[in-house]
């Protein structure tokens, strides 16, 4: 038993100093596809108009603007939002209830419910980039990340959003806003 602990502990201790994954700074094979998914081009519009339209869209969606650097066309924004899903919450409550009853009220600490995702912080960066040849053709690219915490405030997940539908939905709103900006509404 002691020998096993001997062998296990160093392994655990070493695991505490995690190493940098080899691909952390490498372009993935799908990098160009991802870039295309995250990018839309707008013609006959200045990059200032793009930034104004983006700010309006982000405000519509409840984001707060954290950073704008106009000469570089950079805009970063974030919002906190609910991360619970109804079905999961119901499932966890049901499991907690069953557990509580079957342990004769000994385990009623809501173990499953407390592990549920509770709050998420969404952060996004939008970069508007005029083309070298024609400054009125602007490529807009967004990248989105989120951090999710569970009901007890523990970090549950942190990830970069890769779902193409999310980007498509964003650009749909964006296109309308750019149109309104061009029309001066």
């Amino acid at each position: 038993m002691a020998l096993r602990a001997f062998l296990l502990l160093p392994v655990l201790a070493l695991a505490a100093c995690e190493t940098l994954p080899k691909d952390a700074f490498r372009l993935s094979e799908s990098a160009l596809e991802t870039r295309a998914m995250q990018t839309r081009e707008y013609t006959d519009v200045s990059d200032t108009a793009i930034l104004s339209a983006s700010t309006a869209v982000l405000q519509d969606m409840g984001y707060a603007i954290d950073e704008i650097e106009q000469p570089l066309g950079v805009l970063s924004a974030s919002k906190r939002a609910d991360a619970t899903t109804g079905i999961k919450a119901f499932g966890s409550l049901a499991r907690d209830g069953v557990r509580c009853i079957f342990t004769f009220l000994q385990a009623c600490d809501g173990k499953h419910y407390s592990k549920l995702d509770d709050v998420q912080e969404i952060r996004l960066t939008l970069v508007s980039r005029p083309q070298l040849e024609n400054e009125d053709d602007v490529a807009v690219r967004i990248t989105i990340q989120r951090v999710i915490w569970d009901k007890k405030g523990r970090l549950s997940e942190q990830q970069t959003i890769t779902d193409s539908e999310v980007y498509a939905a964003f650009f749909e709103k964006m296109s309308k806003a750019v149109f309104l900006e061009q029309e001066g509404v």
């Binding site: 002691a2 201790a13 505490a16 960066t125």
Partner: protein
């Protein structure tokens, strides 16, 4: 007796990756670190170089925390199962050359592996190429 052994041994192994006060000013030779973290470019101007850096960071899944054109500094964060915080600066050198320096931390530790920076600059080379050839 056994427990004491296990305890001290685990402390020993923990010490291998823990650096309490040393962390404030530690790091390898300054010159060496700068060399690893810096590349010089003369293909694009400052603005388009910075735009290429932004594109590279986005390619690698970073979100931009901060960008300042005048001071030519960009900070960004990547969230995966881990966290990487990175700062990239662009400095103008003589005869239109630009020095791009990237420094990054992985979770709590500085990244000093030359290979990581090689990968980053390889990605930046590609972004600069794409900027020059108008592919987005």
């Amino acid at each position: 007796m056994n427990i004491r052994w296990v305890f001290s041994l685990s402390l020993f192994f923990l010490a291998a990756c823990a650096s309490p006060n040393v962390a404030i000013t530690d790091g390898g030779s300054q010159v060496q670190i700068r060399q690893i973290q810096t590349r010089e470019y003369d293909t694009l101007n400052k603005r388009d170089t910075m735009r290429s850096v932004l594109a590279t960071l986005q390619d690698l899944g970073f979100v931009i925390d901060n960008a300042d054109y005048d001071l030519a500094t960009i900070s960004a964060t990547k969230l995966q199962d881990y966290q990487i915080r990175m700062t990239v600066t662009v400095r103008e050198r003589e005869s239109k050359r630009l020095a791009v320096r990237a420094s990054a931390r992985f979770n709590q530790d500085p990244i000093e592996d030359p290979l990581a920076y090689q990968d980053f600059f390889a990605a930046l080379d590609k972004a600069i190429f794409l900027t020059l050839h108008q592919v987005d």
